[in-house]
Symmetry: C2
């Protein structure tokens, strides 16, 4: 039956599905971010408000900074019959939830163009800047009113997935939705402070170390930053402190490929790639067994830091060459 998956759902079909079913288990992706958590919480509160039963599951621990919308009661397990995944582009991103949920997702709601189609039904809006945009519209189409907590959850997903309205995935719709969310008591500036402008002292120290690791390639079009497990130990930082390091890699003038290598163990590195036109991060990471968006993608590679850097640079080099070829062909 695998070959028939997924059935592409329209917004109307998705709303119908949500209204027809009950006892939802809503899954987020592992290493949860604002969009997957905001989507899950907003959907759960919305469904509860029309009398449905549901709870949220995440394969990893949920960072405390999301507790203003991701309340404990959302996470209390209960018997379920309908499995919905939100913002999960690939089944493998369920992480530890793969055990128990692989092949069992009834509906996936997502905005990643790279969605692998693992769920039985898929509501995919690749034009949405965040899955929270989809959830906002689905709740509207279902005539489920928002409240302050739902609005705060949706705002969190939209703002975090767009770098606070900075990235190229933002559209007029993104801002129109934000304007509507401001109609609720969402404390947006506090959310932004918590999401974007709050660093521990250890995190500041880590940033300095990471910037010290900066190496430039391809006429300074490419910058590579490295975060070793050793740096994390020295600064007392953890995995969650690494958010935003990938962003640092694309802030230097002239850099169109910003790479950050995060050491997971002795011989494994998580690679995050941020690109600007004409490079396509998603295409480059697909060559390395990963995926993502055009401006932000990732993959996991094994080897020493030197090996891994070489693999990434080779893929970027090829993409740069192709883009040059493409450009000159048009001239």
């Amino acid at each position: 039956m695998k070959a028939e998956r997924p059935v592409s759902f329209t917004m109307k079909q998705t709303v119908h599905f949500l209204k027809k079913h009950d006892n939802f288990c809503i899954l987020t992706h592992s290493s949860p971010d604002g969009d997957t958590l905001g989507s899950a919480a907003a959907l759960a509160y919305g469904l509860r408000s029309i009398g449905k039963h549901c709870f949220v599951r995440c394969g990893d621990e949920i960072p405390a900074k999301f507790s203003y919308f991701m309340r404990e009661d959302l996470l209390t397990p209960m018997p379920y019959e309908t499995v919905v995944a939100v913002d999960v582009a690939d089944e493998r991103l369920l992480g530890s939830l793969m055990v128990g949920f692989a092949g069992k997702v009834d509906l996936c709601i997502d905005h990643h163009v790279s969605n692998t189609g693992y769920a039985e039904k898929l509501y995919l809006d690749a034009g949405a800047a965040a899955t929270c945009e989809c959830i906002f519209e689905l709740l509207g189409a279902a005539h489920i009113p928002l409240n302050d907590t739902i609005a705060a959850a949706l705002y969190t997903g939209i703002s975090t997935d767009t770098g606070c309205f900075k990235y190229s995935n933002v559209t007029a719709r993104t801002h129109r939705i934000a304007a509507e969310l401001y109609g609720y008591d969402i404390h947006a500036a506090d959310i932004c402070k918590a999401m974007f402008d709050t660093k521990s002292k250890g995190r500041l120290e880590l940033e300095r170390m990471v910037l010290d690791s900066a190496r430039f390639y391809f006429d300074e079009k490419c910058m590579v930053l490295t975060v070793t497990t050793d740096m994390l130990e020295k600064t007392g930082c953890c995995e969650n402190d690494l958010e935003g390091v990938a962003v640092l890699s694309r802030c230097v003038e002239g850099v169109i490929a910003g790479v950050s290598l995060k050491q997971k163990d002795e011989n494994t590195f998580r690679v995050s790639l941020r690109t600007y036109d004409p490079l396509d991060a998603s295409a480059i990471c697909r060559r390395l067994g990963g995926g993502g968006h055009r401006a932000a993608a990732g993959c996991t590679l094994t080897g020493s830091v030197g090996d891994v850097t070489a693999q990434v640079l080779e893929a970027i080099g090829e993409a740069l060459e192709e883009s040059h070829a493409g450009t000159s062909a048009h001239q």
Copy 2:
């Protein structure tokens, strides 16, 4: 006649004034930012589109990064009869344009609640996140259509004055206007990259030095960063590279008063203060002879770095004490 100033203008009166007059000289504040320049350019292009003559003057050099909307032809002097200042809260902020324009501003369009009322007529909308919000609405009320360049200029002002929609001055209106501006070909992601995510290598180096200078006070509620002329020399950075350093001062967990001291010469420091509730940056800086907004304000102090730090800490200490007093009185 000073005492009668200013005449507070409604939107309708302001539109009438702009339509009735011609040959405008539009003034920005010194150390020009995205909002004063975006306002000036959008107003100038808008007025030109209805057959008016105008040009823009700024007391300081205009950073090259604004050239996508601040075109050379806007800056070509011509005989003028009507002087309009945009985003200029205090006449002294005209800088070198004080010579020639002090006491001669016919109309000021502004969003600073601290506007000193130096102009003959004042259109003040203190609820606007940026003066560009006011210009957007004035152009709309005047039935002057936008174009791509005007929209890009307005987007620049709105995004830069709100830290890209992060600060507490943002309202639903801000996002509604942004959504409308996205209807034009504004290349918002490129603007954001240029305004927020582009640093020279020297600037990265400067950031590390500045972070090294970090000192904490009042149970780590206050962080002070110092930028000396020496640091600028060593990294090859200039005044314009300092934008954003003030923002660094308020990103550390628990810090509600972020101070940055920028050395202007041997014994002069420009103080930038960023605060979170319950502190009021504007009130603190007024004690020190400066002013600004509730969350972001500044002043200029003389003395050694030690003297200046002591003066700032004293004012912050008093404000902290008062805020504690205020809090306990309510409990």
